[in-house]
């Protein structure tokens, strides 16, 4: 499966924006997190990612769930994938789980966004370093480390940032099991002293 560099993603989003404009589609404004956001803002050392994770849609000035993505958007993304040799699901809403919206995104996420326009029909807002730390900590605990842990280490969060992130992650999953796993992750990150504050 081919991975994308920041340049390829920029080209893919630019092409998707051009395609949507050519088809006269209504303006779309998405919030993106994950590897593509880290690459776009140059926040980590890794140089490639598999996909663009759509976290939310901005509508009437507020964040709402992006699900379901319109069929014409997915068709356009698929045409871009074929043209540029990207994975078929390079643009997806897998991270936009219902619980995120039910339990709440990190507070103050929206004012910290960095927006880029890809033509007149597509805007992408990338989440900030702080919000990446929140989502990456949750994902690292939830999905047993992996690339999320590596990204988290690259982001080099401070103790205060990790504590805030851990408290937010507990709102997503208040179970005792999750608290224990979160504690283990904090120890792994060299912040065992934070466990007692969870």
């Amino acid at each position: 499966m081919r991975c994308s560099t920041a340049g390829t993603l920029d080209r893919a989003l630019g092409l998707l924006g051009e395609l949507l404009a050519a088809q006269g589609r209504p303006h779309q404004h998405f919030v993106v997190c994950g590897g593509s956001s880290l690459l776009a803002l140059g926040l980590v050392s890794r140089t490639t990612t598999r996909d663009v994770d759509i976290l939310a849609r901005i509508e009437a000035g507020g964040l709402v769930t992006p699900r379901p993505l319109p069929d014409w958007l997915l068709t356009g993304a698929s045409e871009v994938a074929r043209q540029l040799g990207l994975p078929a699901d390079w643009l997806n809403d897998r991270v936009a789980e219902e619980t995120l919206f039910r339990c709440g995104l990190p507070e103050g996420l929206q004012p910290r966004l960095t927006m880029r326009n890809y033509g007149p029909s597509l805007a992408i807002s990338y989440i900030s370093r702080r919000d990446q730390i929140f989502l990456k900590l949750h994902a690292a605990v939830d999905r047993d480390g992996g690339r999320h842990l590596q990204d988290l280490l690259d982001l080099a969060p401070t103790a205060d940032e990790l504590l805030d992130a851990a408290k937010w992650a507990r709102t997503q999953d208040p179970s005792e099991g999750f608290r224990m796993l979160l504690g283990e992750m904090l120890k792994q990150l060299g912040h065992a002293n934070l466990v007692a504050q969870l």
């Binding site: 080209r11 092409l15 395609l19 045409e79």
Partner: protein, 338 residues
């Protein structure tokens, strides 16, 4: 658009006009050498393609109009309408103007169906873009949005000659009438076998009427049917019908090649129109490739499904730019011209 692509596009258009000249000459239009090839001409597809391209050669356009006036009874207007609806191959307004001219003759009243509603035209434009604006204009064409000198019939066109492969379909119409039976039988003679849905799709007739014709032909005892699963396949044994090959001597003569002209012409026209569109010229190379694939891939897939071996189109068109596809189209038109 890049200058090289613009030049190539002009070259492609000239090649298309040459191809149309050859086909019309085979049907009896004067002023051009008829082809020597083995392909059956589809007269309705030819009329439609000519409404889009013959305006780039005023002489071809007027010879076509002359032939239609004299031989238009050989054109199946319902099939022409169906092809136009399915492929949007021709130019509706030019077809409308031609049809209105035709319908003035009482022997061509069927053409009225194509001349019902001229569009609301703010400013008519020149029909022949390579010629200066005419001093006097044809009123019918003007109503349909086109400026051209009054149509004058030269009367030099000849009836289709039955002794050549190109006019095989018209020969069959002369034998069986201008209904689906002629196309169905021509299709059977130019293929090993086929089932009703396939024959209907490739001859542009409704499946039901093709099914009825095939059942009747089977009753004649000269066309046979076999069952393959749930499908009934029909065969017209070529040896029994070789007397129709009036252009060749001896027992080895083969029936001509059935060419899916409507699909081929639509493919060529779509490519030509896209690369000449100012909107398309403003797209990035990647978007051009996507748009080309979106518009052309279904037609290429259909050609392949109909078993037509178009050289240069065996692999997908996806990801290819207009510059990369242009030589393929030039080669295709050259190959079709022979």
């Amino acid at each position: 658009m890049q200058t090289s692509l613009l030049n190539s596009s002009d070259h492609l258009r000239r090649a298309i006009v040459d191809l149309l000249w050859q086909q019309w000459a085979a049907l009896g239009v004067s002023g051009h050498l008829a082809p020597q090839g083995n392909a059956v001409i589809d007269p309705e597809a030819l009329v439609l393609m000519s409404t889009a391209f013959a305006r780039h050669d005023a002489r071809l356009f007027d010879e076509m109009a002359d032939w239609l006036q004299q031989n238009g009874i050989w054109i199946n207007v319902l099939r022409l309408t169906r092809l136009q609806r399915e492929h949007a191959l021709g130019d509706d307004t030019i077809l409308g103007a031609l049809a209105e001219h035709m319908a003035q003759d009482s022997s061509h009243t069927k053409w009225k169906v194509l001349a019902k509603a001229p569009p609301a035209v703010a400013e008519p434009v020149s029909l022949f873009p390579h010629l200066p604006p005419p001093n006097r204009t044809d009123e019918i064409f003007r109503r349909w949005g086109w400026l051209r000198p009054p149509v004058e019939r030269r009367g030099l066109s000849r009836p289709p000659r039955p002794n050549q492969p190109a006019s095989f379909l018209l020969k069959m119409r002369a034998l069986f009438g201008r209904q689906s039976r002629a196309e169905v039988f021509a299709w059977l003679l130019t293929h090993d076998s086929g089932h009703p849905a396939q024959i209907a799709r490739e001859t542009a007739y409704f499946r039901g009427s093709v099914q009825n014709v095939l059942n009747e032909l089977e009753l004649s005892g000269h066309v046979f049917a076999t069952r393959e699963g749930r499908e009934k396949h029909f065969v017209a044994p070529p040896d029994a019908w070789r007397f129709l090959l009036t252009w060749t001597q001896g027992p080895d003569g083969a029936f001509p090649q059935w060419v899916p002209w409507a699909v081929l012409f639509t493919l060529i026209r779509r490519f030509h129109d896209l690369v000449n569109s100012p909107t398309f010229a403003g797209y990035s190379g990647d978007l051009q490739a996507i748009e080309l694939n979106r518009r052309l891939a279904p037609l290429v897939a259909r050609l392949n499904s109909e078993g037509y071996p178009a050289q240069g189109f065996a692999d997908p068109v996806a990801g290819r730019s207009a510059e990369q596809l242009m030589p393929r189209f030039q080669h295709l038109v050259a190959e079709l011209t022979g």
